[in-house]
């Protein structure tokens, strides 16, 4: 399934090196359309690097990314910003902007700073989609970590791209906010037909909410398959190097690795 023709985001032979160290090594694969794909793997596996290359934040040292039948690097910045968005984990948080200001930035690729009626409507919709109506005029530096993350995701929603890439969106969030964020992403895919790729650390969130999983280790992709094919004790043990016990309930798998 790795090279399905209809997939719009395909990569081949990706290599990235920092000095002598090769952080990702000849990656081939593709992202399935209209689904959530989770990138999992231990620290230093190259997940964030892959995500950065797929979103053109980082230039690869070798290999090719093809996006919607064109090479990723031929896109004009603005054109790409209307088709693919990326949210990194390290965002400037010490900024006195209102949630509305921030979400409105999501419209920048379209409005270039001159917001139309449609743009504001999209902003309103994005804020409503992530349940932030009550906080519209709050400053983001006064929000809790979870609310702030939702505000950033709301901006990405306003950006209204077909592809949405998120680097550890659950970082530092409590359980309630994590669930909220994942449910929002699920709705983006199910209701609006987006394609979402996330780097995620908690295996259970990946197991519960994603459709596909790309499992990485030591700069290589070990598996790229449907969730149910990945969430198996032997595979997870190979990736993470610890024991897993998989509990199945209502067709959903829960991984226990806490104290085995």
């Amino acid at each position: 399934m790795e090279f399905k023709k209809e997939n719009k985001l395909i990569f081949q032979g990706l290599v990235k090196e920092y000095g002598k160290k090769r952080v990702i090594d000849k990656l081939d694969g593709s992202v399935v359309n209209n689904r959530i794909t989770s990138l999992i793997g231990p620290n230093g596996a190259g997940k964030s690097t892959l995500l950065s290359i797929l979103s053109r934040l980082l230039k690869q040292d070798g290999g090719e990314v093809s996006f919607m039948d064109k090479s990723l690097h031929v896109y004009k910045s603005n054109e790409l910003a209307q088709k693919l968005s990326i949210l990194k984990q390290s965002n400037q948080t010490d900024v006195k902007l209102t949630v509305k200001d921030l979400v409105a930035f999501g419209r920048f690729p379209y409005s270039k700073g001159r917001m139309t009626e449609t743009d504001w409507q999209k902003v309103q919709e994005a804020i409503a989609f992530s349940d932030l109506e009550d906080l519209t005029d709050a400053y983001i530096d006064e929000l809790s970590g979870g609310q702030r993350q939702r505000a950033f995701i709301s901006m990405i929603i306003a950006q209204d791209t077909e592809y949405i890439l998120l680097d550890e969106p659950l970082n530092n969030l409590d359980m309630k906010h994590s669930v909220h964020v994942m449910k929002t992403l699920r709705r983006l895919v199910d209701e609006l037909g987006k394609t979402v790729v996330i780097v995620i650390h908690e295996i259970n969130f990946a197991a519960q909410y994603s459709d596909y999983i790309i499992a990485m280790k030591d700069g290589k992709i070990r598996y790229n398959d449907e969730v149910n094919h990945i969430i198996r004790p032997e595979i997870l043990r190979e990736i993470f190097g610890i024991e897993f016990d998989i509990i199945e309930k209502n067709n959903k798998k829960i991984c226990n690795y806490f104290n085995l």
């Binding site: 004009k76 910045s77 990326i86 990194k88």
Partner: protein, 321 residues
């Protein structure tokens, strides 16, 4: 909307302050000029036209320009303590002027300004590059390095100035002073007007760039282009003002921080208030300097330095608690 009403109040108050202070500035000085004199007394009218009006305009323009520069620098460097004073920009402008004088003692205002511009731009580039290398943006560490960087530049300047018999000590040289602003010598600062306009047009881009490189790239913005445009704008304002009136410290540091506390970081919204409050600060400090030892004057660089130094200290205290 509560915030809207608050903004209206801030704007009304600051505009009233500017008008009032401009009025005082126009009618304060050794020569006693009253409104009625402007109609009859030709001598007084000439003083009014060639000295008082240029001085007041210069105060307003430079106050506005330096404050906006500070705001832009703070956004681009993602650090609230960065400003022309705390990044070496003032010192590099001085250095530029000095080198212009070394190469040609008769260097015209235009040449001096050009030298100042190039030096300021290059040093800002260097400074921003340095800031990019530092991981934690929200530290007092960055402006401290900026101040040290400025001191190094000042020492180099002093060395060359001393060697070439231009000035004894560049530290006190070109200390901000509006007393010599006169018709025919201050027009370079009008460059601030178009810069303010461009900054307003680019306001959104500056704020986005201030959110970080990946944030800006995601929105299709060319991060480095925006940074360069910002630094050119800042360098133009700083070099024009240092050439005409000398170095005025702290304005670009204090005003943006006060404005941010009042109405936040969205530059599009904050820029006009930043300009107004900058003008109010300079007009106020200049009037104090003119009145304290009347009929003599204290240079504005000193009054602003005292007011700004204390405010800077308070800011750091507030930030680190």
């Amino acid at each position: 909307m509560r915030t809207k009403n608050r903004s209206v109040i801030y704007y009304t108050v600051s505009v009233c302050c500017i008008l009032l202070l401009a009025w005082i500035s126009l009618f304060t000085g050794v020569k006693d000029i009253r409104v009625v004199d402007l109609l009859g007394d030709e001598d007084k009218l000439i003083v009014f036209l060639i000295s008082r009006i240029p001085r007041t305009l210069a105060l307003i323009l430079i106050g506005a320009g330096l404050s906006i520069s500070g705001f832009i620098m703070q956004q681009l460097s993602q650090n609230r303590f960065v400003s022309p004073t705390t990044s070496g920009a003032l010192e590099s402008a001085k250095m530029g002027i000095l080198f212009a004088l070394v190469f040609s003692p008769e260097a015209s205002l235009m040449v001096r300004m050009l030298f100042a511009l190039v030096f300021t731009f290059l040093s800002s580039l260097l400074f921003i590059w340095f800031v990019e290398q530092v991981k934690d943006k929200n530290t007092v560490f960055i402006p401290l390095v900026g101040i040290m960087f400025g001191s190094i530049l000042a020492s180099i300047s002093t060395f060359f100035a001393y060697k070439n018999n231009i000035v004894q000590n560049t530290q006190e040289w070109l200390l901000g002073d509006f007393s010599s602003v006169m018709q025919g010598q201050y027009e370079a600062i009008y460059i601030i007007l178009p810069i303010v306009l461009i900054s307003y047009l680019y306001a959104e881009r500056f704020t986005i760039a201030g959110m970080g490189k990946s944030f800006a790239t995601n929105l299709g913005l060319s991060y480095h282009t925006v940074v360069n445009i910002g630094l050119v704008a800042v360098s133009l304002v700083v070099s024009a003002s240092v050439v005409t009136v000398g170095a005025i410290p702290f304005v670009g540091l204090i005003v943006p921080n006060v404005v941010r506390m009042l109405i936040g970081d969205n530059l599009r919204r904050a820029l006009p208030l930043t300009a107004f409050l900058g003008a109010v600060l300079l007009l106020g400090c200049d009037i104090i300097g003119r009145l304290l030892v009347f009929p003599y004057e204290i240079p504005i660089g000193m009054t602003v330095g005292v007011v700004g130094g204390i405010a800077f200290f308070l800011l750091i205290l507030k930030k680190s608690k």
